[in-house]
């Protein structure tokens, strides 16, 4: 089986048994890997009555057929399970070196089931895997210290460690898994799922070769693809300014939200960006496995050691969203989230809502442990600590923005979709994101489709068939959004970083030479569409209805000022066009039987429609 080892490592925490499971070649062909293959593998287990934090919720960590092969930005992996944040499909995507190392150990992925009776960690060294006690790590260390301790305990300086922090231990539904220099599987609370299993971390080291169908040809293509990627303008911009490099332009276009989605302008926005970081505190860059982009930021604050700098989402969430213009303070808030193992998008979303509730007089200083004044980052730091302690207001904060809004009688102010806090690309400036957020299988998410880049930059590769539209267009762009989602689902199957702007034909050639498959570009899109529909079907089984395809009230109110003033998306009209483009039933929002059958999902159609 080329491109794969053809097996998962399976860890039964309740019994302590560790086995392997062969992967079905037909599933690999249809779903490739990553979150697409995860959906196919987890489909039978994900039921409506399954407790996301119970022992029966399977946690699946998967790479793709290119993971670890040193191709263009192919160091990523996915973590999937039923989400404690949404009760729906859970999926998080992570860079770094852990995913490749797991493949080097001889496994395409790791399936974790059950619950250990006391905290443990997993040590994998090629074909040797064992569970070890982790009581001494539980409640003790932050995620960076945990990595160091695990590496020391297993005696492998180069072991790669994926772990949870206090947030995961305390089952906070927006807790994450972290590896390496702050690379995170951030969204949908996969850290809490791992914490519910009493699994503190996973250390892995391996030296197995990944078999390739046409090795020499793959090697030549890989070099060409990396060279092409290195010469892309977007690569240069990401290397120089990180993911926050687009901040100025997004701000100019009104696409960067401010003051918890209620203002189109913020005078201090120009002080917090990748460009400003470059000129002030940036002292280095960091990469994922074999990546030529190097978007990771290494910054040094006065009197401190070098550490991770904020990427775009963290920077906006703790910056303009709180009217904070202090890059050092934002950096510290991001690092605090990482140390605790909190998703900084969700955490900053919760904090932003708290600031808004305070500004509106719904939340008092005494409840919040002090004032929450716009522009003051100290309130945010206090709320993060409160959240992880889960005491007083912290217990409400720890349940996410939807619960916080509900607690104060203002659920409509919580900017979330299906329980997942909205990232910082505003659909009022890039209307495609209204469909992306409303229909994403994991709640509001920009990593199921970064359509905002098409809306803002008006650029798409012709061979993908993805059409361009004005950024304020409505239903006419629905089919284009659907096609872009399919393409990004392919990325999430491979698992290929969105930042790698490699030409589609290069990606296709790499897949075929690695695996021996005979995919066409059309076939890849079909695989993406299949996985997208499968995730949708999973969500319907888990209780999703058409009413879940919505946007929060604040995102449907036009800004009074800024680069996108006066516009709000017409979501109902866009959704109708989207259902038609997708072949989904207008009344229920479900993929029709015909659509599922067309995609080779007849059994799923039977489950959904009988």
């Amino acid at each position: 089986m080329n491109g794969y080892h053809g097996q998962l490592l399976v860890v039964h925490l309740t019994t302590g048994q560790i086995t392997t499971r062969a992967l079905d070649p037909a599933l690999l062909l249809d779903y490739l890997g990553g979150s697409a293959l995860s959906a196919a593998l987890l489909y039978p287990s994900l039921t409506r009555d399954l407790d996301p934090l119970g022992p029966d919720n399977p946690l699946l960590i998967l790479g793709g057929p290119l993971t670890g092969l040193s191709g263009p930005a192919e160091g990523r992996f996915t973590v999937c399970a039923k989400s404690p944040a949404t009760g729906l499909w859970g999926e998080a995507n992570c860079g770094g070196f852990f995913g490749p190392e797991l493949r080097f150990a001889g496994y395409d992925g790791l399936l974790v089931t059950g619950r250990a009776s006391s905290p443990v960690y997993l040590w994998i060294r090629d074909d040797h895997a064992e569970l070890r006690p982790a009581d001494h790590l539980w409640g003790q260390a932050d995620t960076y210290q945990t990595q160091e301790k695990l590496r020391a305990e297993v005696g492998e300086k180069l072991a790669r460690v994926l772990c949870i922090g206090l947030a995961g231990e305390r089952l906070i539904p927006f807790s994450l898994l972290l590896c390496d220099h702050g690379r995170v599987a951030g969204r949908t609370g996969m850290g809490a799922v791992m914490g519910s299993k009493n699994l503190k971390g996973i250390a892995v080291r391996g030296a197995q070769k990944i078999p390739l169908a046409r090795e020499a040809e793959f090697s030549r293509l890989r070099s060409a693809a990396n060279l092409a990627l290195r010469n892309e303008t977007v690569t240069t911009a990401l290397r120089e300014t990180g993911s926050a490099g687009g901040a100025e332009y997004f701000d100019f276009m009104g696409e960067m939200p401010k003051r918890y989605f209620t203002s189109g302008v913020f005078e201090g926005a120009g002080k917090v960006s990748g460009a400003v970081m470059n000129e002030t505190i940036l002292t280095g860059v960091s990469t994922c496995h074999a990546c030529v982009v190097a978007c990771g930021r290494v910054v040094t604050l006065p009197g401190e050691r070098p550490g991770k700098g904020p990427e775009y989402e963290t920077m906006v969430g703790f910056g303009p969203q709180l009217l904070v213009d202090d890059l050092a303070a934002i950096t510290r808030l991001g690092r605090l989230c990482d140390a605790y193992g909190l998703d900084s998008i969700s955490m900053s979303g919760v904090v932003g809502l708290a600031y808004l509730l305070y500004a509106e007089g719904r939340l008092s200083a005494s409840e919040a442990g002090g004032p929450l004044n716009w522009g003051d980052p100290t309130g945010a730091e206090r709320l993060i600590h409160l959240t992880v302690r889960r005491g007083g207001l912290g217990e409400i904060l720890a349940q996410g923005a939807r619960a916080l809004g509900r607690h104060f009688g203002a659920e409509e102010l919580a900017v979330q979709v299906n329980g997942l806090e909205v990232p910082y690309h505003d659909p009022r400036a890039a209307s495609g994101m209204s469909l992306v957020y409303a229909t994403s299988p994991r709640g509001a998410c920009h990593n199921q489709s970064d359509y905002f880049l098409l809306d803002i930059l008006r650029d798409a590769r012709e061979e993908t068939g993805i059409t361009l539209h004005d950024r304020f267009d409505g239903p006419e762009k629905a089919a284009s959004v659907a096609r872009h989602q399919d393409w990004r689902t392919v990325h999430n199957a491979l698992v290929h970083c969105f930042f790698a702007a490699a030409p589609p034909q290069m990606i296709l050639d790499l897949v075929n030479t690695a695996t021996g498959f005979d995919y066409s570009l059309t076939g890849l899109f079909r695989a993406g569409e299949r996985a997208w529909n499968l995730k949708r079907a999973i969500n319907h089984r888990l209780g999703l209805t058409r009413a879940n395809d919505q946007l929060p009230k604040l995102l449907l109110q036009p800004y009074a000022d800024g680069g996108a003033a006066g516009f709000a998306p017409d979501l109902p009209a866009m959704l109708s066009a989207y259902y038609a483009a997708r072949g989904w039933d207008e009344a229920t929002g479900q993929p029709t039987r015909e659509t599922l059958q067309r995609l080779g999902l007849a059994a799923v159609a039977d489950d959904l429609w009988t």
Partner: protein
């Protein structure tokens, strides 16, 4: 009377427009970089236009003779002639062009990103030059 683009006469007319634009003078008051426009023709030939931009004024502007093709500037902006024409006609937005590689930037991208209003006002003034576009 329309002035052919690209040409020495055109870049001088553009310089004149810039130096009479209060809006540009204001928004570009902190800009301190010269720019070389590297225009690629379909037959493989090139043309270079140089502009020295300093604190909201254009101190120098001229067509660079071919023997000066290695001339240094803080920024070299390279694109096919067709993309320059699209930008001047308002069919392609300059920042979009830079961020998507339709207009390749050699120079400090950080400066560009921090001066988006300057870039866009610069282009807006260029679009005011009465231009005779190549057929």
């Amino acid at each position: 009377m329309p002035i052919p683009f690209p040409s020495h006469e055109w870049v001088k007319a553009f310089q004149d427009r810039l130096n009479n634009s209060a809006a540009y003078a204001d928004v570009a008051k902190n800009w301190e970089s010269d720019v070389l426009f590297h225009i690629e023709y379909p037959d493989g030939s090139i043309q270079l236009l140089y502009m020295d931009l300093w604190h909201g004024q254009c101190r120098d502007a001229h067509q660079v003779p071919l023997e000066g093709r290695d001339k240094k500037a803080a920024f070299r902006l390279t694109a096919p002639l067709a993309n320059f024409v699209k930008i001047l006609k308002g069919e392609l937005e300059a920042m979009q062009a830079m961020m998507t590689g339709k207009l390749k930037v050699q120079g400090n991208m950080v400066v560009m990103l921090k001066n988006i209003p300057t870039v866009l006002e610069f282009v807006r003034v260029a679009q005011q030059v009465e231009t005779d576009f190549p057929k």
